[in-house]
């Protein structure tokens, strides 16, 4: 099975480590790229700024996006991802601590594909990430990569 790419946008090192630990237990073989703020996430996705040299052909199967992020927050990242022709169809899963109504509504109205609240119980967290990986990396059919969409 080919390696599936995940972009993890997470500023909290603990959460990053725990998420990676959980993903490592996933039955689906995957590679995780971690970026630590909203700006870097956008740069990486759009191959600009510090990630200008990155190959645009390397497209993640899913983006796991935290909402509370330094520089550009998660909601704004989602807005720009959806506004950009190259990434507008990209599966984005919100993975965050909050279940505030404004956050949930904001994410869905900007076209988030899924919204998952991180449970405190690590057993549950692991289970959630495991299922998530299984679903998005194995079962979900990602949108086709149209060469014309790549600048």
């Amino acid at each position: 099975m080919t390696e599936r790419l995940i972009l993890l946008v997470e500023d909290n090192a603990d959460d990053e480590m725990l998420a990676l630990r959980a993903l490592a237990k996933s039955p689906v073989q995957n590679r995780v790229v971690v970026v630590r703020d909203g700006q870097e996430a956008l740069d990486w996705l759009h191959c600009v700024g510090v990630h200008a040299g990155r190959s645009p052909l390397e497209i993640p199967h899913v983006v796991l996006l935290d909402l509370k992020l330094p520089k550009v927050d998660g909601i704004e990242v989602l807005r720009r991802v959806r506004a950009h022709p190259q990434t507008r169809l990209l599966p984005v899963v919100i993975l965050t601590s909050s279940n505030e109504e404004c956050d949930v509504m904001g994410a869905y109205s900007l076209g988030a594909n899924s919204y998952i609240r991180k449970p405190v119980d690590f057993t549950q967290f692991t289970e959630a990430v495991r299922n998530l990986g299984l679903y998005w990396l194995q079962w979900n059919q990602p949108p086709p990569v149209t060469p014309g969409a790549i600048p």
């Binding site: 603990d14 909050s98 119980d121």
Partner: protein, 777 residues
Amino acid sequence: MICKAAVAITQAANEDEAANSCLRAVCRGSGWSAGHLVIFPGAGGNHASHHFHPAEAAELAPLRQQLTTSGATWQDDLSVAPVWRKDDGAALPPAARQVGLHGVLRIPLVKDTQSLGVMELFRAEDAAPDEPLLSAVTEVARLMTAALARARITRELSEREAREAALVQSVQDHALVMLDAAGLVVGWNAGAERLSGAPTHQALGKPILELFRPADGREALAELVRREEGRWDGRLLRRDGTTWWARMVLSPMHDGDGRRYGTSLLVQDLTEQRRLEDALAASETRFRLLVEGVKDYALITLDMNGRITSWNLGAERLHGHSARQVLGTPAERLHGEEDRQKGRPGELLREAERTGRAEGEGWRVRADGSRFWAHVVLTALRDAAGAPVGYSMLCLDMTERRRMEEIILESEARFRSLVESAEGYAIFMLDADGRIQSWNSGAERNHGYTAAEVKGQPLGILYPRGEDGTDPAAAALARARAEGRHEEEGLRLRKNGQPFYASVVISAVHDEEGKLRGFSYVARDITERKQSEERLRKLAETLEKRVAERTTQLEDINRELEAFSYSVSHDLRAPLRSIDGFGQALLEDYADKLDEQGKHYLQRMRAASQRMGELIDDLLRLSRLTRSELQRQRVDLSVMAQSIAAELQRREPWRDVRFIIEENLCTWGDPRLLRVALENLFSNSWKFTAKHAHSTIEFGTTDYDGVPCYFVRDDGAGFDMAHASKLFGAFQRLHSPSEFEGTGIGLATVQRIIRRHGGRIWAEGAVEQGATFYFTL
């Protein structure tokens, strides 16, 4: 020739025949070739008549034609003497030369400067006629002139007679009748026809008294007719038997020589005149009765010496004397003693004598000695020739009016003293020009001016000038003038220039005819009121400001709270996840290095962090309840309770719990929040009945000390009423987690929801005897 002409002229039936005969006699008798005679029209005549001889001669036709159409041969000659002209250019008409005639003799026919016509005689030779011919022709012309003059007089006379007859005939209003010596009608005009009703053909030849029949006094009228002279007024009979008033005037008629030839009779219809006279007489009678009958006025006439000559009913009533008692006595006796001593009665008479009229008021004495206040008008009476004959005296009892005037004066005095004593109010009058006329003590106190200082001053001195230089006092007066009244609150000035607030009413004052007499000004110093109003306004402002500040503070707090919740939601849970996560990682990765005790500690750590996670979630839920908007609608609590009960039973189907839920409990509220509240209450009961094998949970309504309310009752663990006050506090628990799980936030949530609905919640219970929660909405 002259004789022939004379005979022909005198025998002629009319002027035209005379003219033709005359021309024929002259032309034949003295050898003229042609003759032309023009008769000028008299007064009222239309055109001249032309005569020509020989009229039948065809060769002379052009001349006859020309003369007849163009008139005389020449017209510029005003001479009355005969004139001879011969053919030497333009003297003769071209037609004369054309027919071979070269001389013309023109003789004007003039009588007493009246030009009656002209005769022209033509002949072939242009030598002047000799003297015998001229004199003969002139003589004939004289005869002709005489004939024309006579004819004209005759014609004019007959025309005048015809006109006069027509005039007489046309008179409609009066009958003009001519009687012959025997008294029979010989002339009868249209008026006679109208008044008598007899047409002319019936009247002529009849005796006059058959045509105009007197209703009475026939003999007197017949005598007049016999005498042919005189006047008679009386009633005549119409054919239908009714009568009419007539005047008949008879006069003898004489001809030019003084001979009597008849009588003229003029009959005049007096009906209308009689009617007016009767009306006048009736009116006079009425007036006399009126004067006598007037009761409210004494109407008295006096002679030149001031003695009473007439005394009407009013005089009798007013003075108490009968006419018999006073007639002939001096009017002086009617006056009061004071007037008599001052000689007032005589003064009044003299004044009336001098000016025609005198008027005065004074006390009068009645027959019983009592007095009344009288208004008296004396008028001097004069006869037709202007000689004084006495006086009329009109006297009216004014006692009542005088009393009213006194009352008014008294009332005015009282009013004035009232105005004067109204110290809190500035009350004064202004004239129509807005100048101050009066000034009360209140005005003096408010404005600081004395009456002497302001009287005659314009109202404007009490007003501050308008900012734009306008005169606010004039504007206020203009409004009062236009609307009758002007009311305002505004600044006024004291004498020292200090402004103060006044409440002012200015009213326009009009006289009986509606003419503006001036204004009344009533004002109150409201400075104190204004000041307290100002204080009140400032206080309100401060309060508003405070409220605004508090609102801002509350909004800030709310925002902070929201930010806090948000932060809690995101940030507080993260470390817990780390503790739990790394605890688990330790257990997984280092299980071989930890003994059972170490593993147990790690488990305790994880349990604690997970519990804290729950606490945080409950806290957030509670805070969300306070923040969300209340959406009220109809809610069926019974249905809601049924569904919650079913859910609880579905989750733990092994439990033996009986639910008793009252039907149709409907209310008005936020369904989402009410569901949370009911869920909490039901869960609570469900939880605390868990240790009993069989239990019952009830939901219904009841009456608690007269208050209708809902209740949720269970027969579970219950609680000690000593701790009832802690039931609804957040994180307050009456049981240990080991006994009953829970965070202690459930009832706090319920209370918050009930309170947000404006209701109240309380509980009753006893240990192991169950608990009942009551609430209102």
